[in-house]
C-alpha cells in the first residue's frame, strides 16, 4: 500500500495532537472552544488503532480512518473530518497505488462532500475557505509540472494566506455563527488547523 498516504495521515494526526490547545483556543474566541479537543480525540484513536487499520489498499485505509474518526468524534468535527477521509477513500476505490493524478479529484470530492454534509459554501468562514484555494493552487501547480516539494511550498503559503483571509468574514456555520458580527476579525479555527497541518506536512516531508 502507498506509504505516502500513510505518511500524510500520520502527519495530520500528529499535528492535530500537537496543536490541541492551540486549536481549542482559536475556537474559544467565537465558538465553544472544543475544536482542538474534538479532533485530537479522533486522531488519537486513529493512532491508537494505527497498526490494526485495514491496509488492503489506500482507499480502504482512508475509509477506515474516516470510520474511526466518526465513532470517536461528535458533531461538526466528526462529520466534517470523517467526510474528508471518507470521500478521499471513496475516490480512490480499489486502486493499489495513489498517483499524482489522483490528488485533485480526491480533494474535489472532499470539497463536494463537505458542502453537502455541512450545508455550507465558500465564504461561510469554514475550513472550505482554506481548502478550496489550496486545491486550486495544487491543481495549477500539478498542471505546470511542479514537483512535490514545490507544490508543498505553494500549498503551505496559500493555505496560510487563506486561513488569515478568514478574519474579515462573518461566521455563518457552526457555533461561532451565533456570535454574528462579533466573529469579524477572528480566525476560523478549522482553516487555521488545515493550514497548520499542511505546513507541518511540508516540514515532515523534508525531514
Amino acid at each position: 500500500m502507498s506509504k505516502n498516504v500513510e505518511f500524510v495521515v500520520k502527519s495530520i494526526a500528529d499535528t492535530a495532537l500537537k496543536n490541541e490547545q492551540y486549536f481549542s483556543d482559536l475556537d474559544a474566541v467565537c465558538g465553544d472552544g472544543d475544536f482542538g479537543y474534538s479532533i485530537a480525540r479522533g486522531f488519537e484513536k486513529v493512532l491508537t488503532e494505527w497498526d490494526n487499520i485495514d491496509r488492503t489498499n489506500p482507499g480502504t485505509f482512508l475509509k477506515e480512518v474516516a470510520k474511526i474518526i466518526m465513532s470517536a468524534v461528535g458533531g461538526v468535527s466528526g462529520s466534517i473530518w470523517g467526510t474528508t477521509f471518507l470521500r478521499a477513500g471513496m475516490t480512490l476505490g480499489a486502486k493499489e497505488e495513489v498517483s499524482k493524478e489522483d490528488i485533485v479529484p480526491m480533494l474535489r470530492a472532499v470539497i463536494e462532500g463537505i458542502k453537502k454534509r455541512g450545508n455550507c459554501d465558500l465564504g461561510d468562514k469554514t475550513y472550505l475557505d482554506t481548502l478550496v484555494p489550496t486545491t486550486d493552487v495544487i491543481e495549477t501547480a500539478l498542471a505546470e509540472g511542479k514537483d512535490a516539494l514545490e507544490i508543498l511550498d505553494l500549498a503551505t503559503q496559500v493555505s496560510a494566506d487563506a486561513a488569515e483571509a478568514t478574519r474579515p468574514l462573518i461566521a455563518k456555520k457552526g457555533r461561532a455563527a451565533y456570535t454574528g458580527e462579533r466573529s469579524i476579525g477572528t480566525l476560523d479555527a478549522g482553516s487555521v488547523a488545515l493550514a497548520t497541518m499542511i505546513k507541518a506536512l511540508n516540514e515532515a516531508w523534508r525531514a
Binding site: 481549542s24 470517536a72 456570535t179 454574528g180
Partner: protein
C-alpha cells in the same frame, strides 16, 4: 482549573458510571456509546425517545432518563455533539415496534450527527422521526442560516412527549406534540461568568468583575452583547421582555415559567430571580399555571440563568403535570 476531575478524558464516562451506580434498578450504562438508557426499554407499546447533545448540560440529558421522560441519552463529549455512530447504535438499541423519536437541540453538529445516525438506522428498517428544538430568542432566525439554538426549553418538549409516549401515542402523534411544544416555547439566557470544559482546562471566555454577557448559549458561546452587571431585577426585566415579546405571550395566556440555572448559580439566587419574573408575568396578565425553578440545562459551572415561557393549552398542561421518574432525585 477548579474542578473535580481525574483524567479529563474520563470526565464523561466517570460521570455516566456514577449515574448508573446510583440507579442500578432502573438504568443501564453502555460505555461504548456514552449511553444511559432505561432498563425496561424497548417496549412493545411505546415509542422510544432519545436525545444526544453534548455533555456539560447536566441534568440534561443523561440525568433525565427515566419513566415519563427520555428513554435514552447518548451525549458526546463536553459541549460536543455525539458521534454519528453513537446515534446509530443507540437508535438500534432502543428501537421497538412503534419506532424511535429523536429530539435534538438545533446546532450544526448535533444535526449532522443525528442526520447521519438516522440515515443508518432507517437503512436497517427502523422508523425514526425527529423534533428539532430551537427556543432561544437570543439568536434571530433571519440572521443566521442555521436558525435559532435549542436551549433549556428542551425540557418541556421532553416532558410532553415523554408523558404522551407512556400513554401509547404513536410516533406521528409524538412528533406533532413535540413540534407543537417547540412552537410555543421561548427562552433567553445570560451569564455572569464563563465556564471551563475539563478537556480544555481554561475558561472558554472570561468576563470582567463588573461585566455580564446577555443572550448566552449553553456551550459557553459568547452571547448577544457584553454589558455592565445590573441589579437582578433589571436583568430579569430584559430577558422577560425579549422572551415574552417574541412569540408573543399576551394577557390572558396560560403559561409555564422556568428559571433555569446555568450550573454555578445557587438556588437561592434562582428563587430571587423567580420572584421578580413571577411578578412581571402577573403584571402582563399572564396566568402562571406551572413554574420551574432549578437546574434543567446547564453549562458546566457557569454562573447565570435562562428564562423560559411556554404557552399552555389543556392537553400540554396535563402532559407537563403527569408523573415522571428520573435519575436525579432528592429522596
Amino acid at each position: 482549573m477548579k474542578k473535580f476531575v481525574n483524567d479529563p478524558k474520563d470526565f464523561v464516562p466517570e460521570m455516566l458510571k456514577g449515574i448508573a451506580l446510583a440507579n442500578p434498578d432502573t438504568l443501564k450504562y453502555i460505555p461504548e456509546y456514552n449511553l444511559i438508557m432505561r432498563k425496561d426499554i424497548p417496549m412493545a407499546n411505546k415509542v422510544s425517545i432519545m436525545q444526544g447533545s453534548g455533555s456539560g448540560h447536566e441534568p440534561a440529558h443523561v440525568m433525565i432518563v427515566g419513566k415519563g421522560m427520555l428513554d435514552a441519552a447518548c451525549p458526546g463529549n463536553v459541549f460536543a455533539a455525539p458521534p454519528a455512530d453513537f446515534v446509530y447504535q443507540t437508535t438500534k438499541l432502543v428501537a421497538g415496534p412503534m419506532g424511535v423519536l429523536h429530539l435534538l437541540n438545533n446546532y450544526t453538529g448535533d444535526t449532522m450527527s443525528f442526520d447521519m445516525g438516522r440515515e443508518l438506522a432507517e437503512a436497517d428498517g427502523i422508523e425514526v422521526r425527529t423534533v428539532v428544538i430551537n427556543d432561544d430568542v437570543a439568536v434571530k432566525d433571519s440572521l443566521y442560516t442555521i436558525g435559532r439554538r435549542g436551549v433549556a426549553g428542551n425540557f418541556f418538549v421532553i416532558k410532553a412527549v415523554g408523558a404522551a409516549s407512556e400513554e401509547g401515542k404513536t410516533l406521528e402523534e409524538l412528533e406533532a406534540i413535540g413540534n407543537r411544544v417547540v412552537e410555543v416555547t421561548r427562552t433567553m439566557g445570560m451569564a455572569l461568568t464563563g465556564c471551563t470544559p475539563p478537556g480544555k482546562g481554561s475558561p472558554i471566555f472570561t468576563l470582567e468583575d463588573d461585566e455580564m454577557e446577555m443572550g448566552i448559549g449553553i456551550h459557553g458561546e459568547p452571547g448577544r452583547k457584553r454589558v455592565k452587571i445590573e441589579p437582578a431585577n433589571k436583568i430579569v426585566d430584559e430577558l422577560f421582555e425579549a422572551v415574552a415579546d417574541d412569540l408573543p405571550y399576551v394577557a390572558g395566556d396560560e403559561v409555564a415559567l422556568m428559571i433555569n440555572g446555568m450550573g454555578g448559580t445557587p438556588i437561592s439566587e434562582l428563587y430571587l430571580l423567580y420572584a421578580h419574573a413571577h411578578e412581571i408575568a402577573e403584571k402582563r396578565g399572564l396566568k402562571i399555571k406551572r413554574n420551574y425553578v432549578g437546574e434543567y440545562c446547564t453549562s458546566l459551572e457557569m454562573a447565570g440563568f435562562s428564562l423560559t415561557l411556554v404557552k399552555l393549552d389543556p392537553e400540554l398542561e396535563r402532559l407537563l403535570a403527569a408523573p415522571a421518574e428520573i435519575a436525579i432525585r432528592t429522596f
